[in-house]
């Protein structure tokens, strides 16, 4: 399979490395007009020269790893040209961008379209999914998710926080992963309320989002997405009938989110071994994240077999984009300024 990567930033580089190691991938091109000369020289013929047309007749699959303002255009073009597109999150700046992608997909029969929601493939999340339900921790009572970072010195300069380019703030950029996880566990969610704030960075997009959600069966969920968590945090708390799970930390390149782990607590009342409110817990520590490989592997397998992918689907992307659309559309959502 010959793959073309649009955009060689943080995500483009990750995808390039994963594709290079994939046995089905024969050739990779990179298209990035803003690539610095040193990277261009290092990558050699892998990089398409600026102003050179894309050799679509040779391209089997496209990876869109660009800033949000060109995501929809490139996805639509990729779908029309080769029918196989892997698109980084978010799927466009807004609902309109997403709808354009969805419409293009509907016009291409047997297409393969996957969105990059790799967090659902992280080992702590997969383990949590396996441990709940019948015979395990039972039905979910509630979920709370916190995902945040500290921004950093380049935060204000990043295209991610330029509303013209990104379409939104931390909720769209990072919170979308946590929304995808809430949907993974609860299915479709509707927005009960939300508070957005641009408390610190003053970029004109939210640097904090507090979103209260409800599943179709009434299960409550809550998300705090933040760019002012000075200690990088990933924490997903799932309360179930027979116990609880807390996934925290993320295996990442920098390790800044802490050791990835899953706490498993089983409900014990005072008639059992432990004191009420202090049940025995087990903690699983994980030391390998193969979410990138699994995600790309599934895309390539689906593309090769001409079938829809099992995760990162258009429907899953639609669910999170609907939530984000509805949060931004709330009548009182106007961002509280610092």
């Amino acid at each position: 399979m010959n793959c073309l990567i649009f955009g060689y930033g943080y995500m483009g580089r990750i995808r390039y490395q994963v594709l290079r190691a994939h046995p089905e991938v024969k050739k990779i091109w990179i298209s990035d007009p803003s690539l610095d000369p040193a990277s261009r020289a290092e990558l050699g013929e892998t990089v398409l020269p600026i102003d050179t047309p894309v050799p679509w007749e040779q391209v089997d699959a496209v990876f869109v790893c660009t800033p949000n303002n060109v995501t929809a255009d490139l996805c639509v073009e990729g779908l029309r040209q080769c029918g196989r597109v892997f698109c980084e999150k978010p799927p466009g700046r807004n609902w309109e961008d997403f709808s354009r992608i969805a419409e293009a997909a509907a016009e291409v029969p047997d297409h393969t379209l996957v969105f990059g929601f790799n967090h659902r493939l992280h080992p702590s999340v997969q383990a949590a999914k396996a441990l709940m339900g019948q015979g395990g921790l039972g039905e979910i009572l509630f979920i709370k998710g916190t995902y945040g970072k500290s921004g950093g010195l380049s935060y204000q300069k990043s295209w991610r926080n330029n509303p013209e380019v990104s379409g939104g703030g931390i909720l769209l950029d990072q919170g979308i992963h946590m929304l995808d996880l809430l949907c993974l566990f609860l299915g479709g969610l509707s927005v009960a309320d939300a508070v957005l704030a641009d408390s610190f960075w003053e970029c004109g997009v939210e640097d904090n989002a507090f979103v209260l959600l409800r599943s179709e069966t009434g299960i409550p969920a809550f998300l705090h997405s933040s760019a002012t968590l000075w200690k990088h945090t990933f924490r997903l708390e799932i309360g179930c009938r027979n116990g609880y799970l807390v996934a925290s930390g993320l295996l990442s390149k920098t390790g800044s989110y802490g050791r990835e782990q899953l706490v498993i607590g089983k409900r014990q009342f005072e008639d059992e071994a432990m004191a009420l409110g202090n049940p025995r817990e087990e903690i699983i520590h994980f030391d390998r994240d193969d979410s990138w490989e699994k995600e790309v592997g599934e895309f390539i397998a689906a593309a090769k077999e001409g079938r829809p992918a099992q995760h990162g689907t258009l429907d899953e992307a639609r669910r999170v984009m609907q939530i984000i659309r509805d949060v931004y559309a709330l009548k009182d959502h106007s961002i509280r300024r610092a």
Binding site: E282, I284, H285
Partner: protein, 320 residues
């Protein structure tokens, strides 16, 4: 790969009290001495890496040897295979009799030893999305645990078999359990080979063991009264045990040391023997407050440094 940490909290006296253990240990040592009166096999090479084994000291006059590479401990001399099988059977019978200390703390052991092990197996089966598999229980040391397994309803079918009989069957299982069997087998690699032969491709192997690399064994060495044959004819280090499984064609899924008794074991030895040579640090640690001891034990668990290990491995496609 993953590792587990637990917040289990129970006392040494509730599961393997040192005072209660000593008569049982004496029985085991005496039975081993008798078994060694016949033909002997001398272990000179590490069953994992092949390195020449070095003397490690005596346990009840029986010499132990140590792998210089990874620190695993082994009983230096073994009786012939048949005598070893008879010895294991005799000791097992004694362990499950009313004469052993185990009989006096049955419920406590069920709560703190067997219950958590069953829960571990149950959770792992869920993590591996394996529903109602067939089980091969190899060399069970406890009738109580075998009963718990049967009553759990987790398995479609359970076959319990002794370590020495495993080569006789051919029927394959999806899961095999070796609870401390590798500690007492006279041929660890051979046992794993036979278990592998009886596991379906991709099948899961559950192993528990005591580790020489764990805290109490590291501090006490061969003075550790929990080291005795035949139950602990082998006391692998964490690295040694992991390598042994990998060399046998298994892919490690979990390597955990969720032990809760390391500090309690050292303290029990220090209380029993005032002359026990401990460093100032070790003395301070064993006499520290409960909070410090808990934090230290938690650290041992988190970093793979406790002496109780549990491992889950998957049979690879190319398993020998």
């Amino acid at each position: 790969m993953r590792s587990f940490q637990t917040q289990d909290s129970f006392s040494l006296s509730s599961v393997k009290p040192l005072d209660g253990l000593l008569p049982y240990r004496d029985h085991c040592l005496e039975a081993t001495r008798r078994a060694l009166q016949g033909r002997k096999r001398v272990r000179t090479a590490c069953p994992v890496c092949g390195e020449r084994l070095a003397p490690a000291g005596n346990v009840g006059e029986l010499p132990y040897v140590r792998c210089p590479q990874d620190g695993s401990l082994f009983l230096a001399e073994l009786p012939d295979r048949e005598a070893w099988s008879r010895l294991l059977a005799e000791v097992r019978q004694f362990r499950n009799s009313s004469a052993s200390f185990h009989a006096q703390i049955t419920q406590s052991r069920a709560d703190h030893v067997y219950g958590p092990k069953l829960e571990w197996i149950q959770d792992t089966l869920r993590l591996q999305e394996l529903a109602h598999p067939t089980l091969l229980e190899v060399g069970s040391s406890s009738d109580d645990f075998s009963r718990l397994l049967r009553e759990s309803g987790l398995f479609l079918q359970i076959q319990s078999i002794g370590e020495s009989e495993i080569g006789q069957g051919t029927e394959q299982a999806q899961v095999a359990v070796l609870l401390e069997s590798l500690d007492r087998t006279d041929d660890p690699a051979g046992l794993l080979k036979r278990v592998s032969d009886r596991l379906a491709p991709g099948g899961l192997l559950f192993v528990t063991a005591l580790l020489s690399s764990g805290f109490d064994f590291s501090v006490l060495g061969t003075r550790n009264l929990y080291l005795y044959p035949p139950d602990r004819a082998n006391c692998f280090s964490r690295d040694g045990l992991s390598k042994l499984l990998e060399q046998s064609g298994f892919i490690l899924q979990e390597v955990s040391t969720p032990g809760v008794l390391d500090l309690q074991v050292v303290r029990a030895h220090a209380q029993r023997d005032a002359a026990l040579p401990l460093s100032v640090f070790e003395k301070t640690l064993v006499s520290s407050d409960l909070e410090t001891q808990r934090a230290f034990q938690e650290f041992l668990q988190q970093r793979g440094l406790s002496s109780f290990a549990r491992l889950v491995a998957k049979k690879g496609d190319g398993t020998a």
